[in-house]
Amino acid sequence: MVSQPHGGRLVRRVAHGRRRERLLEEAQGMPQLELDDTRAADVANIAHGAYSPLEGFLTEEDYESVLLHMRLSNDLPWPIPIVLDTPSEAARDWGVGDEIALTHRGRMLAVMSVEDIYAWDRAEYAERVYRTTDPGHPGVAKLGEMGGLLVGGRLELLEEPPEPFQALRLWPIETRVLFRERGWRTIVAFQTRNVPHLGHEYVQKAALTFTDGLLIHPLVGWKKPGDFRDEVIIRAYEELIRHYYPPNSVVLSVLRMQMRYAGPREAVFHAIVRKNYGATHFIVGRDHAGVGSYYGPYEAWDIFREFPDLGITPLFIRESFYCTKCGGMVNEKICPHGDEHRIRISGTKLRSLLANKQMPPETMMRREVAQVVMEFDNPFTE
């Protein structure tokens, strides 16, 4: 069976029909808060159950609990605060119990019942979630752009935010139906923000060997400068799947959500979201969601020990490399040969080759994938 949603019930906070019309009308008279693309995506993710059991942005009690214990106040694992910030001035007049309208690019997006308005401490947030207050950390830097007050409360979606990758965007209810229709009982999810090299392919196929299906689930949305652009990642995966995956074993879909680079905590969060999409297994990479050298390479594996009640099985698959003696992709655990036989895949090397339009060796990246990436003038975000 596909995974039960986190907390037991798939959240749906999308208004339909007459109720939606009425709420749209009422929203005209409510105080309005304009959201950026990232927060609008969070609203849609909440409303469609990707963040089940959240029905809105965190209230202070949950926020504190998430910071301190990596759990909601009801003890359910939840390591990353999903919060709505606002410039202090705007919220000063709102009271608990008020309804506010959330807008995005000037359009009505959602209505939200204010359950809580509270101040937060950026340094504490950074220290807890990112384990650093260094503004050189891209997640910490993002905190600096946020408003001084957080607003918690349940919301209801009125209008879908625009999605450039509409044809690849599936909601949890859709992947769940899809998995069931395909007869998949075990589904392994792969989180990515990279174009696939042979190491990624190997890890996915190793997991797929003993599961029914693979969900390749790239994040689209804000990423730090220098990361691959969303459309490059998607095109690269489409090409890889076309040439090297049985179509009936794999689903490629996008998840619009910001990267936080919070390493271990974010790895657990990534797993929870994929659980909501119906995945039973989740591949946790080396230095998953890490950046620079803020986290140890296997910290993202260790943290899962603290969550025996997660409800999705993490798969820790070692970094792979090409071994000339074995004659294929292998990892430390299965290859006895020395370094002289091993061709390690370096992300940095690959990026520089691709940036200079040089074909990487076939022991690192599929030719078809590299070609697609090199068709883009600049495959990286700025």
Binding site: G17, I173, V177
Partner: protein
């Protein structure tokens, strides 16, 4: 949404309260409209609504087919 209506009985004190609410808060032209809204809200929000209806499921499948997933 079917426009057909049926009669039900409701506790009198609740009706009084509802009328008073409509008078004070506005937004509804009649007691019937108010009651329709309240029931729709409760049924959509709190009811077993998270269970998909067959109609919802068919819509999901249609989209999955249109996108080539099924």
């Amino acid at each position: 949404m079917s426009g057909e209506r049926v009669q039900v009985t409701i506790r009198k004190d609740l009706v009084e309260k509802a009328r008073k609410f409509i008078e004070e808060q506005g937004g509804f032209d009649s007691l019937e409209e108010f009651l329709d809204f309240v029931l729709e809200t409760v049924l959509e929000e709190e009811g077993p609504g998270s269970e998909m209806s067959e109609e919802d499921e068919e819509k999901v499948k249609e989209r999955l087919r249109a996108l080539g997933y099924m």
